[in-house]
Amino acid sequence: MATNRLFNLVTEAMEAESRFNRLEARGTLRIALKTSGLDADTIEPDQMRVVLERILPKELAARGIDAPEALCDRLVQVVRSADQGGAFTRSDAPEDVFRRTRSA
């Protein structure tokens, strides 16, 4: 499964669980990812969980969503269940190149 499917999965769940439409859900998650220094097309499950737990609640609250922590907990569960069995493959990130050279 490509990593950007993770982004689609979370935004679809956000759309279903809140009053956000597709554009609002995707835009809000993109802002949270950008704040965290992450990209929608390379995001990994562990990174997504941290963003959902630590960054997204503030973004949701700023947009008038009630009980943002509860919504984010449900989104974390969606990521956990989708990630079982290593469903999301990880590609070589730029930092992996520099980690390889420094440990060579």
Partner: protein
């Protein structure tokens, strides 16, 4: 001063060969394209620099250059152009692997550099880094575009990694390494741009005095030191970077 510039130049050649050997050895083990491209870059640019210095020395000894020295000059500039192309491949493989626009950009800049090289060597005379000609400007601009884009991508990604590090997701040492890598390309771009600008403003005789060669050698040395620290930072340096990152408030 000129002896100092010569010592710096020789040290950078040694450092270039050592980096090339280490990166190519790593590429042989990992079978990954980024370290292969960067190892090829270091090897080509270092051989190109050795040939370039030899041609300059031959030119200083005799006004009438034999044909084989001119041929060596063409080879040295070809190697520098190929090195810039290898770097473009490295940037694509490190930051944009799998993206179609990046393939088109690499092919495009490769053609740009190739046309620039042919235009530079076709007059049949010694090609200097700072030759103030339209052909050399075109050849240099292709290379500077690659160095500039490499620096831009590196600084952009290092900034992202520092933001991730604040959340406990990023590797602060890798962020520092990538930032240094970007710094190396700024220095390499400045070597070409300064040589060209000094020749244009003052004339080629500026390189017969001490200040211009020292400036260019200094920038070149800074580029190689940044490249070395970005790929193979010593353990103590890594500890110093990690300690500095942990002291930065999240």
């Amino acid at each position: 001063m000129q002896i100092l510039a010569l010592v710096v130049a020789c040290s950078t050649v040694v450092l270039g060969f050592v980096l090339a050997a280490r990166l190519l050895r790593l590429a042989a083990r990992s079978h990954k394209a980024p370290e292969l491209a960067m190892g090829v870059y270091c090897l080509l640019v270092t051989i190109g620099a050795v040939l370039y210095f030899y041609c300059l020395a031959a030119n200083a000894r005799s006004a009438q250059l034999p044909a084989w020295v001119l041929w060596l000059s063409d080879v040295s500039t070809l190697l520098v152009g190929l090195a810039a192309f290898a770097l473009a491949v490295g940037i694509w493989q490190i930051f944009h692997a799998g993206r179609r626009w990046a393939v088109v950009a690499v092919v495009g800049v490769g053609l740009w550099i190739a046309v620039g090289w042919i235009a530079s060597v076709s007059p049949g005379r010694l090609v200097r880094l700072g030759d103030f000609t339209a052909a050399n400007a075109f050849f240099l601009a292709g290379r500077v575009a690659v160095y500039g884009f490499g620096a831009f991508e590196a600084f952009r990604y290092a900034r992202k990694l520092r933001r991730r590090a604040a959340l406990g997701l990023g590797d602060p040492v890798a962020a520092h390494q990538i930032g240094l890598w970007g710094g190396a390309w700024v220095c390499v771009a400045l070597v070409g741009v300064c040589s060209f600008a000094i020749t244009g403003l003052v004339g080629p005789e500026a390189f017969e005095h001490s200040l211009a060669p020292l400036l260019v050698s200094g920038l070149n040395a800074a580029a190689w030191v940044c490249t070395w620290l970005s790929f193979f930072p010593p353990a103590a340096y890594q500890r110093w970077v990690a300690r500095g990152a942990s002291e930065v408030p999240a």
